[in-house]
């Protein structure tokens, strides 16, 4: 098992390395002179020359890649061309704000999804099951901004004007100092992700409930409560962990749209601004960051999968 986890770890590092390569190669796509593309047609030759020096554009490609990678590894993410400040500094506070959003949404949607999924799996074919399954099918289809706009109309501007529709924290004040402004962004993300987890949990649980060992447990005369907690649930956790991981990665994408919609001062909005400003180094840093988060989350899910599988677990003990 340790070898299996180590193998998985090595693969993750390899994938992460390939991701850095891809993120770097993307900058080579910049048409013409990257410095001109970044600064625009009106840029003075002096500024272009300065940017050349700053980006090290005169060096060969592989050297630029190694320099950039070395910087990333040591925490130097480069300089933002738009704000002229270090990228790391620009992102510091925003990472915390985005993490608050992500963690809240992840915890709430995972708990709700698992509970609803299990509950409906136990009521297969009944009215409650049809209602929840139908609702999750509809909500799962909606893009993030559609859910967000609908919530704004419903809870902020038009129907029930209860909550702020934009984040209004003054610079320097952490977003969580005014919890009410977190409600709509978090709720939007929860509604985006929870339906998938619910559906997956229901499907996995249904499959487990139809399995031979659950039928056998019932035929042994084990009370239903124990059949579910001891014989069914443990087998559903492993496969669902993978799905949750994929959904959390989805959150990392959805967070961009949601932050933009609610003007939330997080990484996602920084990414949109950077794309609009052609602030290449910031775009690189943020995409790399999000990819790294995804790789780590996926790695954790795989480890959960390995740990919950007795076949793999007992191989070490022998």
């Amino acid at each position: 098992m340790v070898r299996l986890i180590a193998r998985r770890l090595v693969i993750s590092v390899a994938v992460l390395w390939l991701v850095t390569l891809l993120v770097f190669v993307a900058t080579l796509l910049l048409p013409g002179d990257p410095a001109r593309a970044i600064l625009g047609q009106q840029a003075t030759p002096e500024r272009i020359a300065a940017l050349h020096a700053q980006l090290g554009l005169d060096a060969p490609v592989w050297e630029r890649y190694l320099n950039w990678l070395g910087g990333v590894v040591t925490g130097d993410l480069g300089t933002s061309t738009a704000s002229q400040g270090p990228v790391a500094e620009l992102l510091g506070g925003r990472i915390a704000a985005s993490l608050v959003l992500l963690v809240l949404a992840a915890v709430i949607s995972t708990a709700a999804g698992l509970a609803l999924g299990t509950w409906t799996a136990l009521r297969r074919g009944r009215r409650a099951d049809h209602a929840v399954s139908g609702a999750s099918l509809v909500v799962a289809a909606l893009p993030e901004f559609v859910i967000g706009v609908a919530l704004v109309v419903l809870l902020s501007t038009t129907v029930f004007p209860l909550l702020p529709s934009v984040t209004l924290a003054p610079p320097g004040e952490p977003v969580w100092s005014r919890p009410s402004q977190l409600v709509l962004p978090v709720l939007t993300l929860v509604l985006v992700v929870a339906p998938y987890i619910t559906r997956m949990m229901r499907a996995t649980m249904s499959e487990v409930l139809d399995s031979g060992y659950v039928e056998m447990a019932r035929l042994k005369g084990i009370p239903e409560r124990l059949v579910i907690t001891r014989h069914a649930l443990p087998h559903a956790i492993g496969p669902v962990a993978q799905v949750i991981a994929i959904q959390l990665a989805w959150l990392a994408g959805g967070v961009v749209v949601v932050e933009f919609l609610f003007r939330y001062p997080g990484v996602g909005q920084a990414l949109i601004d950077a794309v609009n400003n052609r602030d290449v180094e910031v775009v690189q840093a943020i995409t790399l960051l999000i990819a790294a988060v995804y790789i780590v989350v996926n790695l954790l899910a795989d480890i959960v999968g390995i740990l919950t599988n007795p076949k793999l677990r007992s191989e070490v003990s022998r």
Partner: protein, 534 residues
């Protein structure tokens, strides 16, 4: 107070009717009863409703099935008879495991893979409040494991199901069923998928436990040879009804119903067959197929070791081997489907390339393969005629009209209704599909036909017709055959010679009669001793 009946039955099922939720009848009034210490075999083929009838004894109906009348009465060891179907789910569950216990068909699927086996047995005891203390229950777990012939010690109890062999898993299943000393056990094909030697062990354990503890056993099976060795009484099911019942002696020796007679005739018997004129091995001529020094290893561990065999012109060699013996690997090497071997495979004295991709069209036409399961060997998206035509398309220069003609002739040869030619495989029965698969193999008029367990996915009565067909085809066409099987009882029905494969080595070979009457190798003797006879 209990009534003074001469024999108090442990289980009485009367006029039981079960249907699907949409109203299609599955059981049409099934009645049977079992006395303590008695084994009733419920015999039937797939779809006969035998498992439904067995599960009903526990008051359990699978999803989509509902009871539609009749009664199930179980009698606990110390207490009054209980009308099972009148109880609610909670009450039924308190009887399951204590009064009526169940032993499933496939232990690999029925044991919880994440729980240690000792835990799974102890759990039944806890659920039913067996014993006064944890220590007493722990003692019972150890005791019941010993009773089924497994080590009862702590280390063994701490194993997970996947750390046990199939036979051991099944015995854990039996221990679980007998743990609370039930008065009735329902065994649902408990030896399907086990080797004959393990099957004998399991059967012996069941017979011993039921006799010793006075347990009434309902033994569900499709295998009449097994019935002969374990049952006191037999009930034969067909289409949701019991068509014949009586003592094992009566039903097996003097069957009344035509279906029972058909079933009995269909069972291959070690001593049966023999009407084929067996050919003497021809020493002089070049064998049609010769395998020499063939070895295969998967990831360092050897699967086949220096295997050599020959199949003469028009001869049938039965290659006998249990699961894991390497018999399928061997036939795939011959077919060119597995090219990672050393040694040679020769056709008419000329060595063949290892992979089908490097064999000539003529060589490919000459060696054909019939697969184990007709459910997966035909492309579900192609009609039967299209599937049979593919080999001609790939390996011959015949034009479309000629191919069609050849396909029609071959389908006729395997006695397949021409009306089925335009159907898709899933509109055919298992036997019809296997005929189609045989037609596909014969359409190129091969010199050598490889048959890999071609009967084992089929019902008993269908197996017999496929064996008959293969015998007739051999007479008509003179095709040499390598018939791969785990069932030694088929030998006299089809083969001229036998080769016994154990652990990747041929341990014995010779003419059928010689090997069966005077086996030289202890493994062959063991197989023969453990093969149930009618």
């Amino acid at each position: 107070m209990t009534t003074q009946v001469a024999v108090r039955h442990a289980l009485v099922v009367a006029d039981l009717r079960v249907e699907t939720v949409t109203g299609t009848p599955v059981l049409r009034g099934v009645s049977y009863e079992i006395a303590p210490g008695e084994v009733l075999a419920l015999v039937g083929e797939s779809g006969s409703g035998k498992t439904t009838a067995g599960l009903a004894a526990l008051g359990h109906f699978r999803r989509g099935l509902v009871p539609a009348g009749g009664t199930v009465t179980a009698c606990p060891r110390d207490g009054d008879p209980v009308p099972m179907l009148e109880l609610d789910e909670r009450q039924r569950r308190s009887l399951r495991g204590t009064t009526v216990a169940y032993i499933p068909q496939d232990p690999a699927l029925s044991l919880n893979p994440a729980l240690r086996v000792g835990r799974q047995i102890a759990e039944v005891l806890e659920a039913h409040g067996y014993g006064a203390s944890g220590a007493e229950r722990a003692a019972r777990v150890a005791e019941v494991l010993t009773e089924v012939g497994l080590p009862g010690d702590e280390a063994y109890q701490r194993r997970y199901p996947h750390e046990l062999s199939g036979g051991q898993q099944q015995r854990v299943g039996i221990a679980m069923a007998f743990a609370c000393r039930p008065s009735v056990v329902v065994l649902d094909e408990p030896t399907t998928g086990l080797d004959v030697t393990t099957q004998t062990l399991v059967l012996r354990t069941v017979a011993q436990l039921t006799a010793e503890h006075g347990v009434a056993a309902l033994y569900i099976t499709h295998d009449l040879a097994v019935v002969a060795s374990i049952a006191d009484r037999v009930a034969v099911m067909l289409g949701g009804e019991i068509v014949e019942a009586g003592t094992a002696e009566e039903v097996l020796r003097r069957p009344q119903h035509t279906y029972t007679r058909e079933l009995i005739d269909a069972v291959p018997d070690l001593d049966g067959g023999g009407e084929q004129a067996r050919r003497a091995p021809e020493g002089s001529a070049t064998p049609a197929l010769a395998v020499r020094e063939l070895s295969v290893a998967f990831g360092g561990s050897p699967v086949l070791r220096h295997v050599g065999l020959t199949v003469g012109e028009g001869e049938c060699l039965l290659l006998l081997g249990e699961s894991g013996s390497g018999k399928t690997t061997l036939s795939r090497c011959v077919a060119g489907l597995n090219d990672r071997y050393t040694g040679t495979v020769a056709l008419d004295g000329r060595p063949l390339a290892a992979s089908t991709r490097r064999r000539t069209a003529e060589e490919l036409r000459a060696v054909q393969y019939v697969f184990q399961s007709p459910y997966s060997s035909l492309n579900p998206r192609r009609t039967i005629a299209q599937s049979v035509e593919v080999p001609l398309e790939m390996l011959t220069d015949l034009d479309r009209a000629q191919r069609r003609e050849r396909v029609a002739a071959t389908l006729e040869r395997v006695r397949l209704d021409p009306a089925l030619a335009g159907r898709l495989p899933d509109q055919l029965s298992g036997g019809e599909r296997q005929r189609a698969a045989i037609a596909r193999a014969l359409v190129t008029t091969p010199r050598v036909l490889l048959c890999d367990e071609v009967t084992s996915a089929l019902d008993v009565s269908v197996q017999a017709t496929i064996i008959d067909l293969l015998c007739e085809l051999r007479e008509e066409l003179g095709t040499a055959m390598l018939f791969v099987t785990h069932n030694i009882a088929l030998a006299r029905h089809i083969a001229d010679r036998i080769a016994v494969l154990q652990g990747g080595e041929i341990v014995e070979s010779g003419p059928v009669d010689e090997v069966l009457t005077d086996p030289a190798h202890p493994y062959t003797r063991e197989l023969l001793a453990n093969t149930p006879r009618m």
